[in-house]
């Protein structure tokens, strides 16, 4: 299967990856090769097969509703790119 330039642009946009035209084209060629490999799956009849999301068929364990976390803001924000007044700063968000 081969991907189009538009396909690659769309997924780069969805994945928030800046790519110039050269990079898009290189990615398109490589992804097309990978999807050729992936296409082998289509030959298999999987009618009636339950999809497998987890290695074991187990149930979610539940946590008691008790506060266990403390305030680690100082430690966490010491490694943040930009903070002010306890807030993480990002370029202006317009709704």
């Amino acid at each position: 299967m081969s991907l189009t330039t538009q396909d690659v642009q769309k997924i780069a946009r969805l994945a928030r990856l800046a790519m110039n035209d050269t990079e898009i084209e290189a990615a398109r060629a490589q992804l097309s090769g990978i999807f050729e490999l992936i296409e082998q799956m289509q030959a298999v009849d999987t009618t009636g097969i339950e999809p497998m999301s987890h290695a074991q068929d187990l149930s979610q364990q539940l946590r008691e509703d008790v506060v266990t976390a403390s305030n680690d803001r100082e430690a966490f924000q010491a490694i943040a790119p930009q903070v002010e007044g306890g807030l993480y700063l990002v370029p202006q968000v317009i709704e």
């Binding site: 946009r13 969805l14 928030r16 999301s53 987890h54 187990l58 149930s59 979610q60 364990q61 539940l62 946590r63 008691e64 509703d65 008790v66 506060v67 266990t68 976390a69 403390s70 305030n71 680690d72 803001r73 966490f76 924000q77 930009q82 002010e84 007044g85 306890g86 807030l87 993480y88 700063l89 990002v90 370029p91 202006q92 968000v93 317009i94 709704e95």
Partner: protein, 484 residues
Amino acid sequence: MKWEIVIGLEVHTQLSTNTKIFSGASTAFGAEPNTQADAVSIALPGVLPVLNKGAVERAIKFGLAVGAHIAPRSVFARKNYFYPDLPKGYQISQMDLPVVGKGALTIQVEPLSGNAKPYEKVVRITRAHLEEDAGKSVHGAAQSMTGIDLNRAGTPLLEIVSEPDMSSAAEAVSYAKTLHSLVRWIGICDGNMQEGSFRCDVNVSVRRPGESLGTRREIKNLNSFKFMQQAIDYEVQWQIDTIENGGKVQQATILFNPDTGETRSMRSKEDAHDYRYFPDPDLLPLDISPAMIEAVHATMPELPIAKQARYTDEFGLSAYDASSLTSSREMAEFFDAGVAMVGAANAKLCANWLIGEVSAQLNRDGLDIAQCPISAAQFGAMLARIADGTISNSGAKEVFRALWSEGGDADAIIEAKGLKQVSDSGAIEKIVDEVMAANADKVAEYRSGKDKLFGFFVGAAMKASQGKANPAQLNEVLKKKLAG
């Protein structure tokens, strides 16, 4: 040209747990920014979600309250999109297999205008699913920057989705109010709309009768019933105008601006989303056993719908009164406490006072029933004095005003203000005799057929008793004596 309005609601209720849905960070409102954002809330590399039992129990409680199927197995999925208030770059939600299935909510619709009568309607609930809340953007935190506070990130939400069963703003508001009352009633949400605990997204479309559904626009994040009504009214008119002017409604996510009363499209959501849902590999399927449902069921209070049935059947109240009395659990409990003191025979008296005088006074003072300055015990004691004839209705109003502003005890107020009715038949006969003697001419006129004068005698006798005569008794005596 006639138009049909089609409305469905998606309501995000913050569940009243102590901790977040996937971590042990506190959910208390109003903390300093990011002081309740633990490693999971800020999505440090390597951290993992663990599901909060309290959130699951609350979801089950809601399901039971709307008669819904509780899924024996539900699955958490990731909804992928980038936004600064969404630290992982995906929201953990439920997609294909929600915890709560189809249910229904019966609402009493109070038309917003005109003289139309209240009516009952059943709104179908499509599903309710558990998910996590996002953080908050704080605008103007710094020059041309937005600040991100992740205290709210990870707060458990139950998103309750209705079928598009509502056909007016009044119905939508009634549904939202009933739902709001229900989630507070069963104790799964504090219902604080200012703090964002109960947020409504409203899907609106219009169509001509008989046509298929029109294109809908979704009004996001309405956090007051008044705004909801205004937003729907504006949006409906906008859609009708657009179509009538030859335009087409485009599917969109829109915001309501309470200052202008208008709706507008959200700019940041302009490119089509592709959320790439898939089952969250970090969370296993949520299995809910019959035993767990039973344990939750055992903690359920009597539901409004059951109470309403009891009020109409046992007390002979109207459906509307029963619905008013169950508008909140506090109101119903107040009523129940009142009835407990005066007996079922006087339930109607209790209902009339609560829906009438008490509600009016609460409204005037901007209070809700939980903040009522008169306790149910004080209220019941006062009703008991009306019921046993000690005070008249007008006397009771005086007692009520005193209780409201100064507090105290009904009997003491009656005593101090001398509001006790005269029910002694001898005393009443004496007053009547005196009034008749002083108005012999009018007695003659009455007896010659001028029935209208009866009111005059009631007034005069009541005045002579300084308003304390038992009205029923006074009437009876007057009638007998005037008849000669």
